[in-house]
């Protein structure tokens, strides 16, 4: 019943608005103002552009300054310093262009609104002007491109040899982490080996895989290069660590990589932000299905000494589940056995 009444109310309101417009139109026909080229509305619109310019300008500056700390993400990687710098340089350059062009765009309508008897100036071309405003953006863009290109080349250059390797594998809908163990070399894998006890599809007949170990979170040392080896098991995913300014797609059938140097431990960041619960996070940024929004993994950055200690405490896949070693050749088994023995000491 209420719905019906509201419906009737809306219909009445709309017809009222329509009536007002109808009357107004008829009045303007009687007055003859509908024959005019520009009515009073012309002035109103011209003025509204100026009001919009001032109003939205104030809103933008006020909000950008007030909320700066909120939308500014804390930064914790070496290359992030450079990309953030590039971001703010680009913001400054484009900001100036944004302001100048918008001031002109919204002031011209006010300044040059229709006046009876005035004639617009016939000004079809000016080659000098055209050349200037082709060349200037060209030069500015060249500057931005070159600085961006230099940063990009450094970031995507091959990782230093001593980089700590971590494998991150995306699947619907989580990340699995594998460390290469003492040899710092990840063992082979084959997606056909994946089963309930071997979610990574690790090939344990490869010697390098014997000391590989899993971890519920990504633990990395501060100040040392870390290489993420990224892969996907089912569909596309994308490793996104916002605080590290790191993003790389995880592609089934094509391993990808991204290396970086973390600059602040989790503890340091907690102290800096005065947030005892702060964690570095990995999210997924490539649409991957129902749980796309919930693929979270925690990164813990620790001091190098603490990292070495943590490494020494970890148990390899085989130590955790000796059944995995079944069916591999005796020589490898022996090696695995030695390892088992090592850690038992």
């Amino acid at each position: 019943m209420y719905g019906f009444l509201i419906g009737v109310g809306v219909v009445l309101l709309l017809s009222l608005v329509w009536m007002v417009f109808r009357i107004q139109t008829l009045v303007s026909v009687v007055k003859g103002s509908d024959k005019k080229i520009a009515t009073g509305s012309n002035k109103v619109n011209a003025l509204l552009f100026v009001l919009f310019l001032v109003g939205s300008g104030i809103l933008m500056f006020w909000y950008s300054i007030k909320e700066f700390d909120n939308y500014q993400l804390p930064l914790a990687s070496e290359h992030g310093v450079i990309t953030d710098q590039l971001f703010w340089i680009t913001t400054a350059v484009t900001g100036v262009v944004f302001l100048i062009t918008h001031v002109l765009l919204f002031l011209f309508p006010y300044m040059y609104q229709y006046k009876e008897g005035r004639k617009a100036s016939f000004y079809p071309e000016n080659h000098k002007l055209e050349i200037i405003w082709t060349a200037v953006p060209g030069v500015v863009m060249a500057g931005l491109v070159i600085s961006g290109w230099m940063a990009w080349s450094d970031i995507t250059a091959p990782a230093p040899e001593k980089a700590h390797v971590v494998e991150i594998m995306g699947y619907q809908f989580a990340w699995d982490v594998r460390y290469p163990g003492k040899d710092n070399v990840l063992g082979d894998y084959d997606y056909r080996l994946i089963n309930a006890s071997n979610s990574h599809g690790i090939d344990f007949s490869d010697k390098n895989s014997l000391d590989d170990f899993p971890s519920p979170k990504v633990v990395i040392p501060k100040g040392e290069p870390v290489l993420f080896k990224i892969r996907a098991r089912d569909v596309l995913h994308s490793v996104y660590a916002p605080h590290m300014r790191l993003k790389m797609d995880a592609v089934p059938g094509m391993p990808t990589r991204f290396w970086f140097v973390p600059t602040k431990t989790t503890e340091e960041m907690r102290a800096e932000l005065k947030d005892p619960n702060f964690e570095y996070e990995i999210a997924c940024t490539e649409i991957c299905g129902r749980g796309h929004f919930s693929m979270k993994k925690v990164i813990e950055v620790v001091e190098p000494a603490a990292y070495q200690k943590w490494l020494a405490e970890q148990k390899s896949f085989i130590q955790q589940n000796p059944a995995l070693a079944e069916g591999i050749n005796p020589e490898s088994k022996e090696l695995a056995g030695i390892q088992l023995g090592d850690s038992n000491k």
Partner: protein, 584 residues
């Protein structure tokens, strides 16, 4: 008596329907070959899709803006996609996002915009009786209609429409096990898009042929209105890039249905290892964006063309730098084909390729900047009349600036690492491509509505429409820059799982001529289209059909030369006319 009536009827027909065919309802309104009627068909279908597309976005913004809200009241509309607790299903959220993108990009801003205005304006502005092939033009609409019907049906099937994003990246779009929308929904998506591509190609070939061959006497390329330049180049882009999307889609069909491995490799899904090896999902991304990037210019160029016309007309000034505008359009057209991989900086492709595409991408900023400066100079010292169309055009320039500048961030691969697939991207393309093109379409509708339908629209309602929409667009999309910088990823059903995106959610919370066009002789063109407020001229506009020899008082020095040529041509033609008449 009877004979008299018949005779009377005959003369009437003869007098008033010189070139008119005797159309039945079906041939006039449904299977019409008149470009003007086809334009209206595209327009109305486009409006229908815009309403559907907008509605879908309302649904998912409702989820983001009010995550705790009980959406039970949507059950009559969405049925099982609202779960027992009154929450929107996360899979359906993705389907909504996907369909919103597909509908808006292809069905509204490609077919609705190009289809309407290329069809309506090309023959009228170049002085042609109709398109080169009226029949193909009709087919173009009806293929689009068929494609629309299939896409519309896909919204209602049990497993939901395609849900892998409008870019339909495999393997997600290839594997039903990965997301239910990749089953029948995706099949319908592919069939629908195939018909859509056919429609675009039929339309595009027609636009190109018409512009090249059917220009009236004197309508040289250097005298074409900028709208026509824009439509022409849009059609060229479409003709060259849509077949690539077709190829990409065809290979996807093979992967989905016939067991090939173009895009699939080493996949373990739903507890089973698939036999596919050796394929590359990145290949699909290359093929898709080879259309996908030109597509944004297919969407944008017609809007820029319309704006050039509307701004010049309502400033009562010639468009500033006509040649520079044409060269910019040409530049954008060429460059649009060699920047596609800037969508893929972090896709895992070779970083060296990334550097190349960064250079090429940022070059495209130059012709875009030139266009903006030329619009500004056209406004400068004009005598501006704010029709609703003019307001929408000025706003388009504003969106083009705002969204274009953020493109400089995203085209820079080093900065893109952080911003890729965040809301910064959403803000960027909704302003520069979505809103700018939409406003171009609005400007076109307001500007040419009287010519299309023979009626006037109420300007005041237009003003209200404009100001609400203009302010609304900025209020919706500008704040997305902030959450983008804060790192909020796209296509997220909710942000509460992550700490970095949990603290800053408040911003999301608020969230009539006859068929044949000219009776009698087709008009001849003697000058360029923008002789507004010419010094010396009595009127503030000289139409293109007025010979230069008739306006000696306003001719510019270089035009005096043309007058001589013009007089000679006119003399020749007069002789031909006389000769023809003596034959009869």
């Amino acid at each position: 008596m009877a004979t008299a009536t018949v005779a009377h009827h005959e003369t009437e027909v003869h007098d008033h329907h010189d070139h008119e065919h005797h159309d039945s309802f079906i041939t006039k309104y449904i299977f019409s070959t008149d470009h003007k009627m086809i334009a209206k068909q595209f327009l109305i279908t486009g409006i229908f899709w815009a309403i559907i597309g907008g509605l879908l976005s309302t649904l998912f913004r409702l989820q983001l803006g009010f995550p705790e809200m009980n959406l039970e009241f949507l059950r009559p509309l969405l049925g099982g996609w609202i779960d027992e607790a009154g929450k929107l299903d996360p899979t359906f959220y993705l389907a909504l996002v996907t369909m919103h993108g597909t509908i808006m990009v292809f069905f509204v801003l490609t077919a609705g915009l190009s289809g309407t205005f290329s069809n309506f304006l090309i023959p009228l502005q170049i002085g042609a009786r109709d398109m080169a092939s009226g029949f193909m033009n009709m087919l173009s609409y009806w293929f689009f209609f068929l494609s629309s019907v299939i896409m519309f049906i896909s919204l209602f099937i049990k497993t939901g429409p395609a849900g892998g994003g409008w870019v339909v990246y495999p393997p997600l779009s290839a594997l039903e096990q990965a997301i239910p929308g990749s089953g029948l929904g995706m099949t319908l998506w592919l069939i629908s898009m195939t018909f859509f591509i056919v429609s675009s190609l039929l339309g595009g070939i027609n636009y190109i042929t018409t512009v090249i061959n059917l220009r009236t006497k004197g309508m040289s390329f250097s005298r074409l209105p900028l709208t026509i330049w824009a439509f022409f180049l849009t059609a060229v882009i479409g003709l060259l890039s849509f077949p690539v999307l077709f190829a990409a889609a065809l290979l996807l069909v093979f992967d989905r249905s016939f067991g090939t491995s173009f895009y699939l490799a080493d996949i373990y899904v739903a507890g089973e290892a698939l036999p596919n090896t050796g394929g590359s999902p990145v290949l699909f991304q290359h093929l898709f964006w080879f259309l996908g990037h030109p597509e944004v210019y297919i969407v944008l160029l017609p809007a820029l063309g319309i704006t050039s016309e509307v701004i010049a007309t309502n400033s009562r000034k010639p468009i500033f730098g006509y040649k520079a505008m044409v060269i910019s359009l040409l530049g954008i057209t060429v460059l649009s084909f060699i920047v596609w991989a800037h969508h893929m900086f972090v896709s895992g492709m070779n970083p060296f390729l990334g550097s190349i595409f960064m250079f090429l991408t940022l070059i495209i900023a130059v012709p875009s900047a030139v266009k903006v400066f030329n619009y500004l100079t056209t406004l400068w010292r004009g005598n501006l009349i704010f029709t609703p169309a003019m307001l929408f055009s000025i706003a388009l320039v504003s969106f083009f600036i705002s969204g274009g500048l953020t493109g400089i961030f995203l085209g820079n691969s080093a900065i893109d690492i952080q911003l890729h697939d965040t809301y910064f991207v959403v803000a960027h393309f909704h302003l520069v491509m979505g809103s700018a093109s939409f406003f171009g379409m609005m400007a076109g509708i307001y500007h040419w509505f009287p010519k299309m339908f023979g009626r006037m629209m109420d300007a005041k309602l237009g003003y209200i429409h404009f100001w609400l929409t203009f302010v609304g667009v900025y209020l919706v999309f500008f704040p997305m820059h902030y959450i983008g910088i804060a790192g909020f990823p796209r296509r997220y059903y909710s942000w509460t799982n992550f700490e970095f995106s949990n603290t800053y959610t408040d911003l999301n919370m608020f969230v009539h001529p006859g068929h044949g066009n000219w009776p009698g002789e087709i008009p001849t063109v003697y000058r360029w289209p923008y002789d507004y407020s010419k010094p010396g001229a009595a009127q503030d506009f000289i139409p293109q059909t007025v010979p230069l020899s008739q306006t000696p008082e306003s001719n510019l020095p270089h035009e005096q030369e043309l007058v001589k040529v013009e007089l000679e041509i006119m003399k020749d033609e007069a002789e031909v006319l006389v000769a023809n008449e003596s034959k009869h």
